[in-house]
Point group: C2
Chain length 346, copies 2
Amino acid sequence: MNDRFLRACRRQPVDRAPLWIMRQAGRYLPEYRELRARVDFLTLCRTPELAVEASLQPLQRFDLDASIIFSDILLPLEALGCELTFDPAPKIARPLKTVADIAALTPRPLAEVVPYVGESIALLRRELAGRVPVIGFCGAPFTLASYMVEGGGSKSFILIKRLMFEQPKLAHVLFEKLTRTLIPYLEMQVDAGARIVQIFDSWGGELSPHDFETFSLPYLQRMVSALKAKGVPVIVFGTAMSTHLPLLRRTGADVLGVDWRIEIDQARALAGPDVALQGNLDPLALFLPRAELEARVGDILRRAGPVGHIFNLGHGILPPTDPEAAKHLVEAVHRLGCHVTAPASP
Amino acid sequence: MNDRFLRACRRQPVDRAPLWIMRQAGRYLPEYRELRARVDFLTLCRTPELAVEASLQPLQRFDLDASIIFSDILLPLEALGCELTFDPAPKIARPLKTVADIAALTPRPLAEVVPYVGESIALLRRELAGRVPVIGFCGAPFTLASYMVEGGGSKSFILIKRLMFEQPKLAHVLFEKLTRTLIPYLEMQVDAGARIVQIFDSWGGELSPHDFETFSLPYLQRMVSALKAKGVPVIVFGTAMSTHLPLLRRTGADVLGVDWRIEIDQARALAGPDVALQGNLDPLALFLPRAELEARVGDILRRAGPVGHIFNLGHGILPPTDPEAAKHLVEAVHRLGCHVTAPASP
């Protein structure tokens, strides 16, 4: 078993920086586009054999240190009665508008609604046969609530913030229901074989520090604590939220995701020494000439240091990216992330 | 003349924190919506009497410390041959795609293309009769180039970043042409009567520190330096760019805009003591109950301190905002931003 990723999450010495790529199973791969030409996105997510096929595609090309299960953060919302479509942007059929809408959200058993997620992870783990660990994931309550209230993506997050500011108790009811759905959802993924979990608070950076502390942090803390009790490292990720790093360390997460808007050594200064960091190459850097891409990889590795760093992009790889560039990235991390002399002590 | 704003820009003592509201002339005001029912957005911008009417509307309701000329950052792009439409999101008719497209951009005399901006400012200044200073503004080269290359707004800024990463020399040609257009554009606004200028690098926060330093900072430095030579304070504003504050201080700007994603005392620590700060209330805070809005205003004023702070939102006021909430904001800043005991020495 390649345990480089797990060791880095725990800030133990590693022979080289572990590496995975957010959205590594995705549209930049021709074999993924071929798969998608045959089935729609939701069918792909809901069919374990196909989800595993998509999850494995990048591993067949690149020597990555983890496999993330192919899925979407919005799927568990179906357990709360949400109807989803992807076209390709996600849409929620009836955005939450009233007290009654939120009161009516009654969590149904996950095993009935999203059984395929556990089945996919179990199958993926068998297929990987110990090659690399499986990452399970979910969205954070604030981020998922944003989709449920806005009905999809948003620019100014006006509806979810109005809910929080005008009816804070009701907002907390929604976050509470989500937390109670998401903890067993992640536990199910761990029981099925996920060795690491990542929580995407993709829009947490839209909040002021005060609002992040009030409306997102308490729920993240509970989720992290429940998952750590299951023995797996937890990664908390968001974008444009580096100014929240001092708050994010209070989540108790083993690893904090960092986007490219900050140098990773500055992120380290804000996060403190007792947490691992994941990141932080701009996904667009994959369009740089190879030598410059390598220089940026080297810079990140130097700034991050040899302990407690998982190399990744600062956000998902973009569909127009050339898979060859991803290959160069992987090779560069392998070569430049090598810690020839392992640190003397953990 | 109310010179509170100018004094705060220069970190001189003031009786209370000066205040304006980004997009204070805009759709949240019923009288603005009435004006827009009669004329389209571009006609409004291009007709000095109407632009001045819109600029003055918020001043008739609220005791603000500055008037910003009603206009749009994209208008000077017409001097480079761009065709603009607003529906209501801005669109560029033929986004730049090739070397030839960028080579073909030949700056035309601003006095021919956007004479109405200077006329509007001169008329606004006369109408204000010294009540408050006029703010002139423009976009930053990187931000305007994003619109020109993406053709409008963008999510991942893939086209402008590909230009920068794949053809950096060509990107610099574009930024250079923009800088040479924007400096005289701002100078024209100062000559017409603007007493302060604000440069909107709205999307600068999408760049890594390295890329911001390479592709935006040098042009901002030249613009700031040229405008300071005209004797006016310069504000540089962007969102999600607090991690760039140590770079932004190198622009030489008198004032740096701060959004709500960071506490303003933390922003002060990053920006250093020798620059004023503007901000930083979340525009959505205007939907809070009045007492909580006031608590947030008080918190920002305390964290910012009495010297070198201009109160503002961290981004533009949103159309669904109740004008009464804006009134409460203004009253709260007047009451809580009062420095009863002026600092002993400047």
